[in-house]
């Protein structure tokens, strides 16, 4: 699924990494627990999370997850945007809950990592 479509489906707003919207992704993983995200063996997936702090950006970086969808309209600080930009990470923010975002994207064909 193309990232622009991901963004449209969750009514999202792009905070940084706009140039990656034309890329596509096959898998996603939803969690607020970064230690859990760090057990994902796959690279190149969409991280869907309700955790908005610098560690969610760092976790995406270490996990090779170049796209983050932050749910429930959580506030993303300028520090987070800067960290993501430095690492070429796309951040999309959605007002929808993590359940709703995951459900919509799964129905639209995004695959589960496990």
């Amino acid at each position: 699924m193309v990232l622009q479509e991901v963004c449209n489906l969750v009514n999202g707003e792009v905070l940084c990494g706009h140039s990656r919207l034309k890329e596509s992704v096959e898998f996603a993983f939803s969690s607020d627990l970064m230690s859990d995200v760090l057990t994902v063996k796959k690279e190149h997936f969409l991280l869907i999370t309700g955790l908005a702090n610098s560690q969610s950006i760092r976790t995406a970086e270490m996990s090779d997850a170049p796209y983050i969808l932050i749910c429930r309209g959580k506030t993303v600080t300028p520090d987070m945007v800067e960290l993501a930009s430095e690492n070429g990470i796309l951040i999309i923010v959605s007002k929808f809950s993590m359940f709703k975002c995951s459900g919509i994207l799964y129905s639209a064909g995004l695959k589960a990592v496990y």
Partner: protein, 137 residues
Amino acid sequence: MKFQYSVEGGDFTMAGHASSQVKKSLKQLGIDSSIIKRVVVALYEAEVNIVAHAYRGVIDVDIESAGIKLKLTDEGPGIPDIEKAMTKGFSTASAAVREMGFGAGMGLPNIRDNSDRFTIDTVVNKGTVLSIEIDFK
């Protein structure tokens, strides 16, 4: 190639900085991305452990042609029961650590899973030394 980074206990704003630098170095060397991921995931969980559980620490990174050696030496409370600490789900993490997305007792087991060789040396009330080695193959 040798690098050294210092880590402050409790300072979550900087947690992951060393791991990020190591990732950039390994990328430049053209190491396979799946191996880089194993290195930086293990290192990041170990770095977060210093921030979460110790007072301060030093990370020594030694990159050789055959692989990478990481040594994390901290001053801190030490680990009274290593076997227990290595058990999935065991955690003494504070609420502040859990708010950061850690503290589920999954760090040490994940470090072990990603390492080719992994040892813990610890002295209670003094500190902990983690040694992680990963081969480039």
